[in-house]
C-alpha cells in the first residue's frame, strides 16, 4: 500500500511538472472545462431542448463526437499491435502510450453518451443484475458493455505497466500479455458494435449498410494513427524520449492503407446506392447536391472528400511523409480534423433527411451545446495529457523507486531510446 502511495505521488509530481508551453496547454484545457460547467448545468437541468436536437434529427453532436472517440480508442491498438503481434522492438514500450490515448478518448466518449441521454441519472437501468438490460436484442447494451470493458482493460494494462516500471521490474509477465492481447481483440470489437448501433436501423438508409463497420474501422485506422503520430512527434520534440522514425513510419503506413480502404468503401457505397438511386440514395444525394436549395451540407461533403483524397495522395510522396517537423504533422492534422468533422456533418445530420415522413432538416448547434462539447473533450484530453506526461517520465526512468531515493538526481540530458527499456 505504501508502495502504491509513493508511486501515485511521484507519478503525479512528474505529470504536473513542465515548461511554459505545457502549463499553457493544461490551462487551456482547464479553461475549456470551466467554461463548460454552467452550460452543462443548463443542459442537465432544462433538458436537451437547449441543444440543436429535434425529433427530426434526434442524434446530434454528442453522438457524433462519441463515434469519433470510438474511432481513436479502437485505433489505439494499432500502436500496440506492431510491438506485440509483430514483435517490433522499437514499438514495445510505446504500446503503453497508445493505451493511454485510448483511456483519454473513451472517457470523453462515455461522458458524451451521458449527455446524449435524456435521463442520464437513470443509466443504471442498463446495468446487468441491477437494471433490466434488453439482452441480447439491443445493440446499445453490447456497446455499453464493450466500451466499459475496454476502458477497464486499458486502465489495468497502463497502471500495471507504469507501476512495474516504476519499481524497475519487467512488465513482460503472462498477466500483462493476457490483458494486452485481450485489448487488441477488443479494440476493433468496440468499433464494430458502435457501427451496429447505427446500422441496425432499417429506416436510416444511409447507415443501414453492410459497409458501415468497414467505413468505421478504416476511418479509425486513418484518424487514430494521425493523432498518435502528432503526439509522438510532440513527445520526441519536448522530452528526452527519442521515438525512432521507424515507429512513426509504421503508423504512417497504417494511415495510408486505411485511407485507401476508406476510399474503396466510400466508392462502393456510393456506387451501390447511386446507380439505381432508390430511396436509399436520398440521404447521400442530400449531402452531395442538396434538396430544392437546402444545401447546407454540400460544402461539407465536397470539402471533406477533398481532404480525404488530398491527404491520401500527399502521403504517397516521400517529401511529405519524411518531413517529420512540417508536412507530416500538417497532413495528420487534416486527416484527424476532417474525420472529426465528417461525423456530425456527413455521417449524422444529412442521414436524417428525409425523415420517415419525408421532411428535410438542418441541424443548428447551439452555444451551450458547443461549450459542453469543448468541456467534455477537454476532460478526456486532460486525463490523457497527464497520463502521457507521467508515463514518459516512467519510461525514461525519471520517475522510479531509485530516483526517489537518490536525492540529487541530475538530468544528464542524454537521449534515451525507446528500446532501452526493460
Amino acid at each position: 500500500m505504501k508502495n502504491i502511495w509513493a508511486f501515485a505521488k511521484d507519478f503525479l509530481a512528474e505529470a504536473l511538472k513542465g515548461g511554459k508551453l505545457y502549463y499553457s496547454w493544461l490551462g487551456f484545457l482547464g479553461l475549456c472545462i470551466l467554461a463548460g460547467l454552467y452550460p452543462m448545468y443548463i443542459i442537465l437541468s432544462k433538458g436537451l431542448i437547449m441543444t440543436g436536437l429535434t425529433d427530426q434529427i434526434s442524434m446530434g453532436q454528442y453522438l457524433s463526437n462519441f463515434v469519433y472517440t470510438a474511432h481513436i480508442a479502437a485505433a489505439a491498438i494499432l500502436v500496440v499491435i506492431p510491438g506485440f503481434v509483430y514483435k517490433r522492438p522499437d514499438m514495445r514500450d510505446l504500446a503503453v502510450l497508445g493505451e493511454i490515448v485510448a483511456i483519454g478518448f473513451v472517457i470523453s466518449g462515455l461522458i458524451f453518451v451521458l449527455f446524449h441521454m435524456g435521463r442520464p441519472e437513470r443509466f443504471w437501468h442498463m446495468l446487468p443484475f441491477v437494471g433490466y438490460p434488453n439482452f441480447p436484442s439491443s445493440t446499445l447494451v453490447f456497446d455499453a458493455i464493450t466500451l466499459n470493458v475496454y476502458l477497464i482493460l486499458n486502465v489495468i494494462a497502463v497502471s500495471f505497466f507504469l507501476y512495474r516500471r516504476y519499481h524497475d521490474r519487467s512488465v513482460h509477465v503472462p498477466f500483462y500479455h493476457f490483458i494486452v492481447w485481450w485489448a487488441i481483440m477488443w479494440g476493433p470489437l468496440i468499433h464494430i458494435i458502435t457501427a451496429a448501433v447505427l446500422g441496425n436501423n432499417a429506416r436510416m438508409f444511409a447507415w443501414n449498410t453492410a459497409v458501415l463497420p468497414f467505413a468505421f474501422l478504416s476511418m479509425a485506422g486513418a484518424s487514430g494513427p494521425a493523432i498518435v503520430i502528432m503526439i509522438f512527434l510532440l513527445v520526441r520534440k519536448y522530452t528526452r524520449l527519442a521515438i525512432p522514425d521507424s515507429a512513426i513510419d509504421v503508423l504512417r503506413k497504417i494511415m495510408v492503407w486505411s485511407l485507401g480502404i476508406m476510399a474503396l468503401v466510400f466508392v462502393s457505397e456510393d456506387f451501390a446506392v447511386l446507380y439505381n438511386s432508390t430511396a436509399h440514395a436520398e440521404p447521400l444525394k442530400f449531402a452531395m447536391f442538396g434538396h430544392h436549395g437546402l444545401n447546407d451540407y454540400v460544402p461539407w461533403f465536397w470539402g471533406i472528400m477533398a481532404c480525404f483524397v488530398g491527404s491520401l495522395i500527399a502521403l504517397l510522396f516521400p517529401r511529405v511523409y519524411k518531413s517529420y517537423d512540417c508536412w507530416l504533422p500538417f497532413v495528420c492534422l487534416i486527416v484527424a480534423a476532417s474525420i472529426l468533422l465528417e461525423k456530425p456533418y456527413l455521417l449524422m445530420f444529412p442521414s436524417f433527411s428525409p425523415s420517415p415522413l419525408g421532411e428535410y432538416t438542418v441541424y443548428h448547434t447551439t452555444l451551450p451545446e458547443f461549450l459542453t462539447l469543448a468541456a467534455i473533450w477537454a476532460i478526456g484530453m486532460l486525463v490523457m495529457t497527464l497520463l502521457l506526461k507521467g508515463a514518459v517520465g516512467v519510461i525514461l526512468g525519471d520517475v522510479s523507486r531509485e530516483s526517489r531515493a537518490a536525492v540529487a538526481h541530475e538530468n544528464t540530458g542524454t537521449p534515451v531510446t525507446a528500446q532501452g527499456g526493460a
Partner: protein, 351 residues
Amino acid sequence: MSQQCSGHCHCGKGAEEAESIDTTRRDLLKYMGVAAMAGAMAEADSPEAEAATFKEWFQTHYQLMTDSEKKACIARLEARYSEEYGKHVTVSDAPPLKGVLFGYALNIQKCIGCRTCVHACVQENNQSRYDPEVQWIKVLKMEKGGDSFSEDKREKGYPEHSAIGDHGVQVGGNAYTPAGVSLEDSVRYYDPEKVPEDGSFYFPVQCQQCEKPPCVKTCPVRATFREPNGVVVIDYNWCIGCRMCQLACPYGARRFNWGEPNLPPEEMNPKTHYFGNRPRMRGVMEKCTFCLQRTREGRMPACLEACPVGARKFGNLLDPQSEIRQVLATKRVFRFKEEFNTYPKFFYFVD
C-alpha cells in the same frame, strides 16, 4: 364533403377571430401566473416531495414490481400529480383485456385533413401544450397529381442528343414529378381556410402498433414493450432517453420530451393510466397508445370519437363480428411501408 374546419385554421369571421385571440391572451396570462406559482412550488419542495423523487429514482421497471410496490408507486404518482395540477388525479393500472388484440383502420378516402383528431389526442393524452406542442398524430397533405405530366417534357429527358451518339431517352422528362402518395412531397404544416382543398388528399400517420415493432427490439432497457393487447407502451419512469426507438421507427411515430413538458393544470386530463396518458417528464419518449386509458375500459380512442367524417375504425382483431374485422374483410386495405416487415395493426383503406 366540404366541411368547415374545426377552428384550428384561420377560418373564422373577423370578430370571432378577434375574440378568440383575446381569449388566448387571457389564457396565456393565466398560464403564466400558474407557471410562476408552479415554479415557486418546485423551488420549495416539501420533504415528502423530495422523498418521492428519491423513491422514484430507485423505482424498478413496472413489470418487475411486486403488487405492493405497484400500489405504492401508483399512490405516490397520484399524490404528486394531484398536488402539481391542483385536482384529483387518478393513475390507473388496469390490466390488459383478455382475448383482445387491438386493431385500427383509417379510411383515407374519407379523411378531410381537418386535424380534429390531432387536437383531440393532445387534449386526451396530456401532451405538452406549448414550447412545443407535442402531437402524436401527423396529417400529411398530398397532391393528387392530376397536373404532374406534361407534353413539353415528354422527350426532354436523359441522355440528351450528343456527339457520342443518340440512344434514345432512357429517363423520361416526366420523371421526378410526384404523383399520388409521395412522402417527400407531402406537407404537414398546411393552413388553408377550408378543408379539404381541391387537388389534395390527406394521410394521417400515428403509431402503427406494429406486431413486430423495431422500437421494442432496440430499446436497451425494455422501457418500451408490447403489451398483451398488441399495443406498444412505454414505462416513462424507466426510459433513459437514449432515443434508439425513435431511430428505429420507420413511421416517425415517437415524440421525445426535449424539455420539461408544459401542461397547464386546467387543461390536464385527470383520468390517467400508468402506461398511457399520465403526465410525462423531461427527457423521455412518448407516443400513441391507442388511448390505453380508454380502450382498456372498453371505450374508443379519442381520435376516433373526434373524427367528424367517421374515417376511423377501431376494435378487436380477434372478434369476427367487430367492425375492424368487417373492414379487413370487405375493403381494399393496405399497411403503410409494408416493406419494413413491421406488420402494423394500423390499416389504411379505401371503400
